[in-house]
Amino acid sequence: MTDSKYFTTTKKGEIFELKAELNSDKKEKKKEAVKKVIASMTVGKDVSALFPDVVNCMQTDNLELKKLVYLYLMNYAKSQPDMAIMAVNTFVKDCEDPNPLIRALAVRTMGCIRVDKITEYLCEPLRKCLKDEDPYVRKTAAVCVAKLHDINAQLVEDQGFLDTLKDLISDSNPMVVANAVAALSEIAESHPSSNLLDLNPQSINKLLTALNECTEWGQIFILDCLANYMPKDDREAQSICERVTPRLSHANSAVVLSAVKVLMKFMEMLSKDLDYYGTLLKKLAPPLVTLLSAEPELQYVALRNINLIVQKRPEILKHEMKVFFVKYNDPIYVKLEKLDIMIRLASQANIAQVLAELKEYATEVDVDFVRKAVRAIGRCAIKVEQSAERCVSTLLDLIQTKVNYVVQEAIVVIKDIFRKYPNKYESVIATLCENLDSLDEPEARAAMIWIVGEYAERIDNADELLESFLEGFHDESTQVQLQLLTAIVKLFLKKPTETQELVQQVLSLATQDSDNPDLRDRGYIYWRLLSTDPVAAKEVVLAEKPLISEETDLIEPTLLDELICYIGTLASVYHKPPSAFVEGSRGVVHKGLPPRTGSIESPESPDTAPAGGPAADQPAVIPTQGDLLGDLLNLDLGPPVSGPPMATSTVQMGAVDLLGGGLDTLIGGSGSFTAAPSTTAATNVGAALGSGLGDLFDLTGGVGTLSGSYVAPKTVWLPAMKAKGLEISGTFSRQVGSISMDLVLTNKALQVMSDFAIQFNRNSFGLAPAAPLQVHAPLAPNQSVEISLPLNTVGSVMKMDPLNNLQVAVKNNIDVFYFSTLYPLHILFVEDGKMERQMFLATWKDIPNENETQFQIKDCSLSADAVSSKLQGSNIFTIAKRNVEGQDMLYQSLKLTNGIWVLAELRIQPSNPSFMLSLKCRAPEVSQYIYQAYETILKN
């Protein structure tokens, strides 16, 4: 009596048989027939030919039959839109059925039929169902809005369903609330700009109440929605945290992880001195550990998220190392993740345990896992200095096993250990050399060659060893070839007498017989270096190497902060921001952790600084929208930006979204800047000249600003406190048609600063540096340097709010810093901004009156002529002057760098110190800034 019987009739003519049965008078036979049809459908057989017959069965009192027909309809309506219309009447009728189950079922099914003609009929029943007295129907209808939005977004907006949906957030039934939130979240995803989920303290309160009562799935939706809310201060954040914490004990792991997300995010706002902060940290550990006892798939996702959490707040799990120990029958994907986290948690306190474990893993069966374990031992050595010795001896033990891939992997990591602790463990070189022949992977060979070259003076037969590699030079991979070339040159510089022949051989191999441009170039450079000045060559090739950083694999802090906001989602599994991979996410809103805005914190604490001065004049420091943030994963800033992000987090956090796609060019720029020291000489002169000229004009500026516009005094843009000791103050100026940014960089730190570079975010007028930032000598502590940075307006354009906001990133050897400033618009007034009289009249008339804006300039006691000449200095040209009833009327024009013309009428009454300014422009949004420019020019 099982359903498998429905699959058996596969003979020809089946469709006809079914058709006959569907039209049978007997109810039972009909139902059986529909079941057969459904069964065929599930395995992908085409039974669409039966459409009219199946639809005929729809009008029935039997709920099962009805459901089955609905199932069929959903599947085939798309391919038979005309036929599907036949079903509409029944749907509409069912939507009024006294049984709520049937009402809900009808509206649910209608939403699933993706046929335009049917959706039109759906609107009315849906509207009724959204207000149905039965919550079951309302909650079904809420989801239906999301479905309809997916099919026809415009229709949903026109019909006002979105508002009804928003009202449902305040519904009395928690299930309805949860579904409304879920539907709104889904709609909002395809509509990033709309403020669908506009949360305020009241709605948050409603959500929190619903959270306690709705189903587990509803809790997930609500928690995810809460995570997007930005509490106004730390008290609110704390109270939300308190109400979310019970969710950590939920049996559903998705609920737990969503709760963790909310807590991790809002915790950012809590002061670390708070008792509650400590309590919260303690509460987070057990649920995370519990996730690891679930099914392997859940473990995997949990581990990927724990990886992020451990990087952000290592203190949470620092005592839980043991739960990450690998069991031999864990799936490989779980093993690899656990290993990663073990290394992150490794510290002096637990290193002995960790090493013992890692050594155990290195004898496992799975090759990938073993390799990673060996590598992990090396990373421990680099991370925990005290353990280095033990790590090295462990590695040597492993090399003794002679298992090929273990040996190779060990050699690769030992190379790194050498770089971290120079002149400490070289005694092991002899052991390494014994294994030379067994190395067959390029990475291991390259590492070994590097070691031989670097320590050539201690290896008696270094020349023989390298020579043996040289025999098969052309069969090696590029990596090995490059390393071999360098190693032999090193050897030559150390033991010039015996190895001349060898070095000539390798140079000719690299330069003459190779097709690889990298190799050839490196060969030529060495050749020339050696032939012109061997002493210089020695300095270059045998230069002291910088120590390698401890944590090369940490996620970049700004990205980490963004990912913390995406805990529990796909982004957290891939460790990439959603914009980097989710399809169709045009202009995804970037999330950032909230800054710490303590209401009870002491003002001395540096963390609170942003609340004061700079934050006030940078209202738009965090642009919320934008496709700015490119794939940050690929960012690899020249000098490693490592170190714990904790202390500076407030500063960086503010700038999370500031990193435009433009950062790529920052890196490009800084790269060429450091790489080409010889070419900078020429531009140096130019820049110096430029700044000299600027100074000159500054002097004359007060007398008669004929050729340069008004320059505001310098203000502090980036206080030293926020930029690890770098203070930047500056202003903007315009001289003879060129704009420049005059900067004073002051080093208030205790270390020398160098490697400066600057980059602007995209802005309204495309302002961009015309030349790289030239700081000639490293900036010593307590020194400052004045620089004039020439700007142009050919950069990429993005409208900012306020319009004249400019976001700037400055890099030095210490870090990258971000600040934003407002530039006066008059630096954009071009010299040919004088309009012909006729043209002026025509244009004035042409621009509609709505575009006219009036302003009052108060307390200005200049005469009309003085005003006119003063404005002319800043490229605002007076075209005509009239005297009407004792008032002086000045008609003026100006043009912006992007070609926007602005016409002005300035009314001056001799007795009244207030001027009336009327501005007309085709782009009225600039008017306000023009007015500001007028005011600054006239008042200075």
């Binding site: 459904i38 099962e64 049996a251 006892s293 859940l298 069991k327 069966v365 989602t569």
Partner: protein, 418 residues
């Protein structure tokens, strides 16, 4: 949200597909098959796979892959939890979650899936509610249905669906009112070569079988609730009462369900009930090796350790094993290289021992890795953490229920390294 679901068996046939939005072609599963091929072992297929247009999130249960297709950013845990819930529901309805069971009940499966998810949003996943909507198949019912023409689809709104206690249906009636609690603890441990404990913790659950009429309000208290500091609760439990009084207070769902699960991890609390003495060595020149393992009881609080089974994944180079067991029987599968020794009960007077020779493939190098021993055991009437139920009180109903508590300790992932 969840877009589609494919059920795939071990031989790679897609035997069921269900779409909640538009239809996604079966070809999307090719990416899954690719990953499956790469993973070699079925258990190693990564749970999240990205394809150019979709993401595939899968679980592997009872020899079936549940592969779901998603298109937008969705919490993967949400999907995985849901898939497990689907598998649980099949298990619940058909007694087993197998390809045959699903094919035999394909219409019910379809009805269930339709009821569980709407447009990718979970709708009803509580088994109590589902059973009111769609009645599970029984032989009796199918006979009755075919005679009376009635169906197995409920035509009234499930009562629990919208109440504040969605997990319980109204109007439950039993002639015998019973409430049973099973405290089940599993020990996860890694023991190293020398016999010291590398890692040990207890995963405990309290599974309940509640058959009580009406709307009973239960509270369960423990002798030593302090043990429970990391607990996950069934939604029915009132969190506030637990926080303040350490009492589990709840209106239970009807039937079988998991009340809480908990974890005890502090090392001193985790007693290891067995020890293993082992000597496994391989000799290169003679292509043979020795194998000698003894299992003995320790710290078992006077209870018998029973149902002991040891499984060992021997290295690939092992061809065969010639062993003698002083107790129980052993098998060695030369294909999968798995040695299984079914020991049974351990009597402290005569410790079970298994020893003998290992034949290695001649000429092959001596295996590098030492196999780990995986041990299973059971101890009845003991919760190894020491957790004890104090009392169960019932409010809200007049009758006197029959109450029972059972304790059992089992080995979870219990591994001994050699």
């Amino acid at each position: 949200m969840i877009h589609s679901l494919f059920l795939i068996n071990c031989s790679g046939d897609i035997f069921l597909e269900k779409h909640w939005k538009s239809v996604v072609s079966q070809s999307v599963c090719d990416y899954f098959f690719e990953a499956q091929e790469k993973a070699i072992d079925v258990e190693n297929v990564p749970p999240v796979i990205s394809t150019p247009h979709h993401y595939l999130i899968s679980i592997y249960r009872d020899k079936i892959f549940f592969v779901s297709v998603i298109q937008t950013e969705v919490p993967p845990l949400f999907v995985i939890e849901f898939l497990h819930r689907v598998a649980d529901t099949f298990q619940d309805y058909f007694g087993e979650c197998s390809e045959t069971a699903i094919k035999d009940n394909v219409v019910i499966v379809y009805e269930l899936l339709e009821e569980m998810l709407d447009n990718g949003f979970p709708l009803a996943t509580e088994s109590n509610i589902l059973k009111e909507l769609i009645k599970p198949p029984t032989i009796l019912r199918s006979v009755v249905n075919s005679i009376t023409g009635s169906s197995n689809v409920g035509d009234t709104l499930p009562t629990g669906q919208l109440s504040n206690i969605p997990w319980r249906r109204a109007g439950v009636k039993y002639t015998n009112n019973e409430a049973y609690f099973d405290v089940i603890e599993e020990i996860d441990a890694i023991i190293d070569k020398s016999g010291s404990t590398v890692f040990a913790e207890i995963q405990g659950v309290i599974d309940s079988c509640i058959k009580l009429s009406g709307m009973p309000d239960l509270s369960l208290s423990f002798m030593n609730p302090r043990l429970l500091d990391d607990v996950s609760f069934h939604p029915c439990i009132r969190f506030k009462r637990w926080e303040s009084e350490r009492v589990l207070s709840f209106i239970p769902p009807d039937g079988n369900f998991r009340l809480i699960s908990y974890r005890v991890s502090s090392q001193n609390l985790v007693a290891i009930p067995v020890y293993v003495k082992h000597m496994i060595s391989f000799k290169e020149n003679t292509s043979s090796g020795r194998f000698d393992v003894t299992i003995g009881p320790k710290q078992n609080m006077g209870k018998t350790v029973e149902g002991v089974v040891m499984t060992v994944h021997m290295p690939k180079a092992v061809l065969n094993m010639n062993l003698t067991a002083t107790q129980g029987s052993y098998t060695f599968d030369p294909v999968t290289k798995v040695l299984t020794w079914d020991v049974g009960k351990i009597t402290p007077q005569k410790l079970p021992n298994l020893k003998g020779m290992v034949n290695l493939q001649s000429g092959a190098p001596k295996p590098e890795e030492n196999p780990s021993l995986n041990i299973q055991f059971k101890i009845q009437q003991l919760a190894i953490s020491g957790l004890k139920v104090n009392r169960l009180d019932m409010y809200g109903e007049k009758y006197k229920p029959f109450k029972g508590v059972k304790y059992i300790t089992k080995a979870g992932k219990f591994q001994v390294r050699t």
